[in-house]
Amino acid sequence: MYPKAQRLPIFFLFVLLSIGCKERSTGTDSNTETEAELIKRSLEIHKRVLTLDTHADTPLRMIQPGFDMAQRHDPNETGSKVDYPRMQEGDLDAIFFAAFVAQDIRDDDGHSRAKTLCLQMIDSVIASTKRNSEVVGLALSPDDAYALEKQGKRAIYIGIENGYPIGNTLANVEEYFTKGVRYITLVHSSNNDLADSATDESGPEHGGISAFGAKVVGEMNRLGIMVDVSHGNDSVFYDAIKLSKAPIIASHSNARTVTDHKRNMSDDMLRVIAKNGGVVQLTMLADYLREVPPNAEKDSAMASVRAKMKPVSHMTDEERKALRKSFQEINQKYPPPPATVKHVVDHIDHIVRIAGIDHVGIGCDFDGGGGIQGVFDASEVMNITIELVRRGYTEAQIEKIWGGNLIRVFKEVQAVAEQLKSAKAS
């Protein structure tokens, strides 16, 4: 068993600051509720509902020699955002660990290597759940999250981020399913054989989902794997809506109207995914949450130091160190405006307005760039619940946001798979 959980200083600060505030009414459930009472109520809700994060790149950490998921890591020292003690601290009940393999050449050899590396990452997740079976369990079905929660364990689901390791072999989809994979992000930051990326600088290659990608979607439907459109371009989204017989997900994407980023989803896409019955999982990537204005003061301070620099090749080591320190001090003096939990809930508010409460969830992208002020790692996810309560969301609504919606989609995906099997059998 783990030692008594330690709350992160940031969370303590958050709570203390809140308690230290004037006895302000929240204007939500009760006009007399204080900040301290609101936080207490929020944490109770957070404890009661299933909290499920649909996207973490933690398998990348698992290939770090000596990295132990059972140990608590300091995110400010190591950059690590998820381990089992911090999931426990944050009352994060369930998580999808995404196996990610950097994309190589798209030929048989490249695909074969990617498959090997992807299977290794999946195996590392499975091995981790076995080694830590007192506190976590490998989850394969929607109900496993609730069953494991009742046992006091965290549910570990597996996803694949980028269909590249499928290569052009359809049978690989079933192999990954058998291993435990329950969603596949069709594409990542560059086009693959399945689909076009939102961020491929060479532009679209297939006009959305390729002919082979369409077969993969069909196979995912047949097996009961959720189709994830995050990272795909807009055409991939609309193709997935048309092709998939089951509702789709965006495992880590935000609202484009709130923050104009091509990885975020337009209002039309939000309306369409609502009609489809799918869900958009909000992510904690700062640039998808807020825009950063230029900082002329900082630029000027940097320019001033650079103007006094002598050629770098003429500098001594001591001079280089001093110069590095000067730049670090400027960066510390003029940090970019933080993305906060308020930005997160601004996006949730917007998606709820456009798509409805049944079509939004949480996919933090921890260990893949996710982590903002107040939700810096898995131990701080309760701050999302506190902000939701502050804005008047009810427990039933929070339950939907924190996992209910995703579980509903997951169940529908598996039901469609059963129907397809029955139809084929008859």
Binding site: I63, Q64, D104, R113, L117, T199, R263, V312, G369
Partner: protein, 169 residues
């Protein structure tokens, strides 16, 4: 021959880096006993290299792979790389000499690929890899290493806390 990574892998990394600095580099090491060849391909963000070498992520001073590339560019790059990256094959330090370089991507997503290749006639029995590039700049820098030894692939992530890993074959 080591394989070329497609350009847009970099987009993921830099996209993330721009969002919340997920600092990453990639290294691919391949050994073929048939060809008796050990090859190393380092993929580093140009902004990180410029930050490390000339204190300005957007500097054009070294102009890597451009017609006006600085005569000091390779020397400065290898002075830095040799401090933070090394490979020992069968216990012997591999002398890193650049065989080729190339740029991929655009703007903030530009990556510099640095390619090294060596003849290695003896059977490969062990590899020690140190990859701590940019850990002097960023506390959360992570460096992914993919190994392909005689058709068998493996991966690891090295960083400030765990900069070195040894493997036996």
């Amino acid at each position: 021959m080591i394989r070329l990574w497609i350009i847009l892998w970099v987009v993921f990394l830099s996209e993330q880096a721009a969002v919340h600095p997920l600092r990453l580099s990639l290294c691919e090491i391949e050994y073929s006993s048939k060809k008796q060849l050990l090859s190393i391909n380092l993929k580093l963000f140009l902004t990180d290299i410029n930050e490390a070498l000339v204190f300005d992520p957007n500097s054009k001073e070294l102009a890597f792979c451009q017609p006006n590339e600085s005569v000091k560019a390779n020397e400065m790059l290898m002075n830095y790389v040799n401090r933070f990256f090394s490979v020992r094959a069968n216990g012997k330090l591999v002398d890193l000499k650049i065989k080729s370089k190339k740029l991929s991507g655009e703007g903030e997503n530009t990556a510099l690929w640095v390619y090294f290749e060596f003849e290695h006639p003896l059977p490969l029995t062990s590899l020690e890899i140190k990859n701590a590039v940019f850990t002097d700049l960023f506390f959360d820098q992570n460096n992914i290493v993919y190994l392909h030894v005689d058709g068998k692939s493996n991966s690891m992530m090295l960083n400030k806390k765990t900069p070195v890993h040894r493997l036996k074959f």
